[in-house]
Symmetry: none
Subunit: 212 residues, 4 copies
DNA sequence: TATGAATGAGGGTTCATTCAT
DNA sequence: AATGAATGAACCCTCATTCAT
């Protein structure tokens, strides 16, 4: 699931850990990369630093990842996989709720997901654009757009495809833009609750009144 | 370390070019950097490539910029300065118009500005986060937020500071999020005009109905 | 250094395999090395590749060979040993034949031997010159020279040592040079038979007329 | 001539030295590589060792050669170029001499050339076979074969193409094999003069009596 | 005995920056 | 003022070899 397909490419895991010892090693490496990236970004993150923090040798690192980039991609795949579940489950939960409640719940989850995955899903790809090529996993933005689209179709079955697309675009970007920024700047004038409430109201207004 | 232990700071232009020859050189360097970054991003942009494209030697490059980063920062400053004017002028133009028209105009200008400055204002900082430290110039986001805040205060003088801040936050992020995304993905379901119209309507609805 | 500070020497087999299981392992390793070298040469041949092809772990490999070089040296020794028998037998066979037939037979055998052992006897040593030091076994060239010298002494007992040496040198190098090249380039203008015939004639002419 | 075509490939000179200083650098690098290879072969010759012996930094090395292999290829090209001249000149000198004298002269020159170029022409390619791909220059063996073929055609115009090819093959390999070996082992039983005399006699006998 | 995990000493290469001319 | 040569500190990665299980 998380991308440990046995393939060869420069970007995928080199060998599946068999002994539990090596499972630990793989985890330490990913964890180390994550922690260091949280402080200094991915671009300047060296294999030496990762290995040192993980408490393994540089050589070990290359037993499990064929390249530095593969480590980052593994983080991305893990993160994507975790999100997939959360998204799917959310949709089934909100599907049959009244719009106001459903939207609010969706936004609350979205906020939590961004908090948990922003580093890997957003910063990683923006610092190392060349990774996009190797990122097989569906990005969390596409996933979110999918859920949201389904929701719109479910609630407003009278809309035509183009109209769904258009409305989905705005809903997505409003939610995304606000959440990203909220997480980044943590404005003093807002708490999590007030933020979610207001954003939900904005979205509800938009989807209900529709364009026009 | 880099020989400029004097009061100049590591990130700012080394000397103000006086002669027109030098001015040309500085401009070619910046222009070269910009063009190359447009194709391959900033992260992997080397001084050698810039110098070559600018038609100067690497030595010369260092006569006008104390470091590679200084070149990028100069681009950032230029871009920021240009935007400052546009923003100020916009505010004075929309200040006394009816909200619907004003908001639409503001969004239209914003879209144009993002198109023109996205590379330097957004990609640069996201690819090279370490530059943020040295970025003295006020970012275009802060500037936009300022204009927007003024506008809200002007139109809704009854709001208290906290309320202004809150509403401004959402307006900003809605606009920014949608514009960035629109510029990036150019969704088929939208044209510039329909995009601006719809976004303006969303913002108008929000500011007018207000929170609650 | 490598943990074999005892009297074994860095280059020779670590332990004589007693059980047939071990014998199989040793053979698979050597066979694997041979096959891989045939395709990609010895220089870039890694222990990992050998172990994998042999179907054993890297650890096991080091249980039978104290070093990577030891594997190659073992190949060399095997090859040399096999050639020893063939050479000896050849000499006894041609010893009492008329020169023309004997020379021809000798060349034919030589050609076969080079075809069979070129990889290990020639390519190995030329790609990894540092092995020469550890190559205890008598090389096949020396062996061939020995047989040839005996033959000359046997047929031309009137020659003094120096003269034998000289003539042997030329015979050897003519035969060797032509065979190597023939095996390598497989010239269209020649078949095995025509090649052996012509080479035998050259050698016969030379040895019979002698120098002067 | 020596391969400094301005091309891009991984194997060709990176930039033509403009200042005399850099010409010196390039020469030191090549000289250093040559000297070190004479002692330890090419396979294990590192860029660090070359740079150190040349008295330059590793970085400098890469200003003139795009890779380690490019250095070796430059040596090969230089050597090939030098040989081209010698070969051509030799042919015009021996062309109209009586066979005995011509052959002797040719062998003498060949011996000198092998002494001078063996390291680069033979050992280099045998230690690093992957270089053959990038070796644009005509090898000295091909060159020698060409001269020799011309000579045979010139002296024995009655031979058909196949016959020329065959005879040329043997002449080449006899000469080459003997010379290589002579240079390598320096047998006590021979001096340069006696070696050249005897080899010339062998070749003369062969070409004159011909096959059959 | 056999395995696979772990190691670490380099190897080739890049590139921002400095220096001599 | 300008050039291009030179530098050297890193960086990514490999692989023979050892070790723990």
């Amino acid at each position: 699931m998380a991308g440990n397909s046995d393939g060869e490419g420069r970007y995928h895991a080199r060998k599946a850990p068999r002994q539990s010892r090596s499972k630990t090693t793989v985890e330490s490496i990913k964890q180390a990369a994550l922690e260091l990236a949280a402080r200094g970004g991915f671009a300047g993150l060296t294999t030496a630093a990762i290995a040192e923090r993980a408490g393994v040798s540089k050589g070990s690192l290359y037993q499990y990842f064929p390249s530095r980039e593969a480590i980052f991609l593994a983080l991305y795949d893990d993160s994507s996989a975790k999100m997939a579940g959360a998204m799917k489950e959310m949709f089934s939960r909100i599907r049959d709720q009244p719009p106001e409640r459903g939207i609010k719940q969706a936004i609350r989850l979205h906020l939590a997901l961004v908090r948990a995955h922003h580093l890997v899903q957003v910063e990683l790809m923006s610092e190392l654009p060349e990774l996009s090529a190797g990122a097989a996993a569906i990005s969390y933005e596409e996933r979110a757009a999918g859920v949201s689209r389904l929701y719109i179709q479910h609630k407003y079955p009278e809309l035509n495809a183009r109209e769904v697309e258009r409305r989905n675009f705005f809903v997505q970007e409003i939610v995304r833009g606000c959440i990203y920024s909220y997480v980044r700047v943590q404005p003093e004038a807002l708490t999590d609750n007030s933020f979610v409430d207001e954003l939900a109201r904005i979205v509800s207004n938009y989807t209900m009144t529709g364009a026009r």
